[in-house]
Symmetry: C2
Subunit: 364 residues, 2 copies
């Protein structure tokens, strides 16, 4: 990989990319998972005119809402508005977004026959609308901040495809892997290929980093996580065509195998709010940067409490680069945008104290 | 506390109580969370004639279903059929069980005024029906196996009381604690008192052990868990009137503060299926016994897989007493009872090899 410093002039603000590579920064960069979302009135105004999937499928609308949080709450990176289920959709599994229930697949994947129906995907054709959204967004961002692209992990996508809709016990996916592990592996392999192609194409189209969301990794016991999720995450990462674009892996609820995650090829590990980011820094021994991990509902609290909790996360990580400030999960839809904006501001202000050594080193 | 050996003659099978105290056993005892439940046709036959809450409120019915798994799947302990929400109910918060949605409170607790409406509880009056169920069950068990009583933890009860119904993001309870922590503490304190009285009364009525279910402990960040959940669990344990009846704490999703949990006064810590029981044994250093932790949906698999996974959990714990075999969460309602029975049998058979030293020591 080439030195990231070569890229530096591309962005007015490249703190996010520098922190992903554990390079010196004058303050901790900050973005928010699901920052292009319903908590923003500007987002809701767009959403009123188009349903969720239309927004995903229409490059102009996706680009429009992607940029909103950069303008409104001043985050240090944009993340392309999309949905992880565009991949199952491209593989031939139709679904609809049902208000207050989430995605519902018309025909969940349960059998060998269902698996045979999965289509090969030429991402540059089938998912061209996403790549177009990348180009449009890059133009509109005009070098202000980097752009992140994302995908679900193979395991997380399989979970949605097998469950078919929201689940309390995730009985269907567990039944699937415990009764027919070889079929599960066959499908995971197929999905992994599409995910790798998809993330490669996004990078080719211009995204500066990618995040793999392993939303359902934490459903698994430790051995099963290694077998059904982590293995395919590593496989995807090894197959992504990239120069120096960092890969972030966010495995929600995965409090174990952190050393293995750090050796998956990821540059950054995202942590949910139940983790102690300082402890994980010790366990992973500086091999990767860490992202996170404020409890999302803290944004319901008053400004003073928000500042205090921002400081707590920053202190837990401690001195030095390699931290990207974020929530420990997506921002909640009923949060006051003023509080999101305040959190971003507090993270920027309070983090300066944790980068003194780097600044001194730079100026020396 | 008196030596548990004095109690030994009370039960034909006291393996469960011995393991809770880390005393030598010839095999690992086994029971299943939610073993008196819908997966059993014999349970469904009772449930067809009475709704869930009527079953909780009627000592004869509660005793009847409590004993079923002892007869049918041969577990080493009974656990009194009940619901954790009998406490909020006794405090004046009415709810109903809505099919496939779970409990719905008529008026969730959200404000100072709501908190003022909470009633003091004389458990020997208000919850007499539970104590009667204990007596009936003890008679019916007739010394075959010990009987466990349970309660929700104060934090878990508060979560239900504030959310009022099932939740995806648990926004209401988080909003509650982040915006009005002092009110939260006041209510938690009130609940803790009732929980301690309730568990004391159950012990007085005859249960041999108690389990505190902290189902929603894992929603919290590590600091919040210590402040809002663990503190009150410790408080409850210190206030339970007991002789040598062990206390089990099951904090689902709590993968942190395990040393603190081990110092909470609990005799046993229950682990969910995402934990490595052998690793927790090392962390807690033999201070407590451990209970768990097979992934519940493994009971959907074939017998061979079930046996293999039972062995995996037993091997992870390793040699010696101090392990109570269980699932890592409640048994799922659509599990084949034959598989539950097989799991119990496998745990009994396969665990003998892990107690050789104790048996040798006894016979020496």
């Amino acid at each position: 990989m080439s030195d990231i410093k070569e890229m530096t002039p591309k962005y007015e603000n490249d703190l996010f990319l520098r922190a992903c590579k554990k390079m010196p920064v004058e303050r901790t960069p900050v973005w928010i998972m699901r920052q292009a979302g319903r908590y923003l009135p500007e987002y809701r105004a767009v959403r009123e005119k188009a349903d969720f999937l239309t927004m995903c499928h229409t490059p102009e609308l996706a680009a429009l809402v992607t940029i909103q949080p950069v303008d409104i709450i001043n985050v240090d990176a944009a993340i392309l508005f999309s949905d992880i289920l565009v991949i199952p959709e491209a593989m031939g599994m139709d679904f609809e977004m049902v208000e207050s229930r989430g995605p519902v697949f018309h025909k969940p994947l349960r059998s060998e026959d269902d698996a045979k129906d999965l289509k090969e995907v030429d991402v540059t054709k089938k998912l061209k609308y996403v790549l177009d959204a990348v180009s449009l967004t890059k133009k509109a961002l005009n070098g202000r901040v980097p752009l992140i692209g994302f995908s679900g992990s193979p395991w997380t996508l399989l979970t949605y495809m097998v469950e078919g809709k929201g689940s309390k016990n995730f009985s269907n996916i567990k039944r699937f892997i415990y009764n027919n592990p070889s079929l599960a592996h066959k499908v995971l392999d197929k999905i992994a290929k599409v995910v790798a192609d998809y993330l490669s194409a996004k990078i080719e189209a211009g995204v500066d980093a990618v995040q793999i969301f392993d939303t359902w990794g934490g459903l698994l016991s430790q051995n099963d996580f290694a077998e059904f999720s982590l293995y395919y995450i590593s496989k995807v990462i090894s197959q992504i065509k990239r120069k120096d674009e960092p890969v972030i892996v966010f495995s929600k609820g995965v409090h174990y195998k952190l050393d293995a995650l750090a050796n998956s090829g990821a540059d950054v590990i995202g942590l949910d709010w139940t983790m102690d980011i300082g402890e994980v820094k010790k366990i992973t021994g500086g091999k990767v940067a860490l992202q996170g991990n404020l409890d999302p509902p803290i944004l319901y609290a008053g400004k003073e409490k928000i500042r205090e909790e921002v400081k707590r996360v920053l202190s837990s990580f401690g001195q030095g680069s390699g931290h990207i400030f974020n929530l420990g999960h997506g921002i909640l839809p009923d949060v006051d945008p003023e509080n999101a904006k305040a959190m971003v501001q507090f993270a920027k202000e309070e983090s300066k104290a944790f980068h003194c050594e780097e600044i001194n080193a730079k100026s020396a």
